[in-house]
Symmetry: C2
Subunit: 308 residues, 2 copies
């Protein structure tokens, strides 16, 4: 039986899985993500050892990954350019390794075994600290000229918006990611529009985080629900832009916020219906949260051999 391994390299941990032929997880193992390129390669090789005999390996990493498995930059993971993850790990373990961006891996997972199974035109959006993306068009993964498709968190949606660490202003992830939610919440708190949430955060508007808004909104706090609605508007605005470009059948939302689908999905869907271009003339794409959860990246990494 074929055993395909996949590893998702995250900011704090590396999660490895082995999939059987049906795409079910038959083994898994975690190790902390170390600092530095050599230590990362050591950890990945170690993790492969823990996963047992495998027939293939894919690795998902956060950052710009070339079509040859070179990590060009991953500001949240490591201070390095041109980290030859694929080549170095292949030499170490003795067989070829596929490497791609973690959001691209998540897209592969949701397309093959998750919410978008059976669809030909899919956009996956990871709503985490930032926003990542992966694209399937006409039944194939879209990788682009360099492998850099899906950097959708840095679509500019307001040239006069808040500054982004990328050096520009008004990138989508300043509004519609986990850190975007926190920013919207702090703005509301400073404007005294989030009294209960500020209490939850200990009294200082600058300490308000996304979780505080989430908890207060889930408990029915009207002011927190208004921030969630505002957040839903910003998520939907970007989804609408992506629909204009790609006309997907389904948009799948993954990342850390996917765990709070019950709270976030209704306002996102409502705003999406209102913001969609030519809404009255087209079938509306479905907007769903991912079903592969924290395993998305690792499952998708294991499936890279199928989709590359």
């Amino acid at each position: 039986m074929t055993r395909r391994a996949g590893i998702d390299v995250g900011g704090t941990k590396c999660l490895g899985v082995v999939l059987d032929e049906g795409g079910e997880i038959v083994a898994e193992h975690r190790l902390p993500t170390p600092k530095g390129p050599d230590a990362i390669i050591d950890t990945l090789a170690d993790l492969v050892g823990h996963l047992g005999d495998v027939d293939s390996l894919g690795v998902g990493v956060p950052g710009l990954v070339t079509r040859n498995g070179v990590l060009k930059a991953a500001p949240n993971l490591i201070v390095i350019t041109d980290f030859q993850v694929g080549a170095l790990l292949s030499v170490r373990i003795g067989f070829p390794v596929e490497v791609d961006n973690d959001a691209t891996c998540a897209a592969a997972a949701e397309w093959k075994v998750g919410a978008a199974r059976g669809a030909s035109d899919v956009v996956l959006v990871t709503l985490g600290t930032g926003i990542g993306g992966g694209i399937i068009a006409s039944g194939a993964l879209v990788r682009g000229a360099n492998g850099f498709t899906g950097e959708i968190g840095h679509m500019v949606i307001d040239p006069d918006g808040p500054p982004c660490p990328c050096g520009r202003r008004g990138c989508w992830e300043r509004y519609a990611s986990g850190s975007g939610l926190a920013r919207l919440a702090r703005e509301a708190a400073e404007a005294k529009r989030l009294r209960r949430v500020v209490e939850l955060a200990g009294g200082d508007p600058m300490d308000v985080r996304g979780e505080h808004v989430h908890d207060a909104a889930a408990a029915g706090d009207e002011e927190a629900l208004r921030v969630v609605d505002e957040f839903g508007h910003w998520v939907a605005l970007g989804l609408s832009n992506l629909t204009n470009v790609l006309d997907p059948e389904i948009l799948v939302l993954g990342g850390g916020l996917a765990g709070s689908a019950d709270l976030f999905l209704p306002p996102i869907r409502s705003w999406f219906g209102r913001l969609l271009y030519s809404a009255e003339l087209r079938p509306h794409p479905r907007v769903e949260f991912a079903t592969t959860g924290e395993y998305a990246g690792a499952i998708g990494a294991a499936l890279l051999t199928d989709v590359h």
Copy 2:
């Protein structure tokens, strides 16, 4: 020898061409675009007759075209929904007809015989009265779930921007199309930043059009050149967003403004280099103006049988 016919249905005229096997135009004919669906079908059939014996026919139309050749809406052409262009014309002329959006046709033309020949990942952007688009990814035309890819003129790039006839605010084509240029120019004229251009337009800032800016800028007028630079910024902002999503090797600019490449290309390229995400880590996509000119839509329509 195979003779492939293509017709581009424009707001004022229908342009038909016949291509030989090498993609060269061996016949062409034009007829005025009439009003109403029946008259349009009559005109298209008539035009086919003028083109002589042909082996295939493709038609490009402005608007949302389904994958089955149904024009869902074309506000600048005809007041109708669900115009069965492909089926009606096929019945009339006795052989199958491929139909697609005119910008998608232009993308096919530039990809197969124009500026993007040989590239696998291409975004075509038509800068006309509005903005249209067509996408090639991994060496295939991207049509989307419904056939509606490339409606990139309605990417929202400023939610508080000027209203768009589509019902939303701040769509890219409010800034970066021919009408966007005219709007930027009128704003500058009202702010008394375009004295020479207002003179050219007859003295009233509200009469300023894109051509006046173009002519003054081409003659070296500093104030007009500043508006051209501002326009270049807006074009580049959208191109940068599209690059984030699709990572193309080349972005091709077509449409009416393509005739003024000498004036517009330098500021567009300059701003694109500054706005590109992770510019220092990637090969920069080329930004070129289209080479098929007014024939783009008709040539691409003739090539639809190859790319669909």
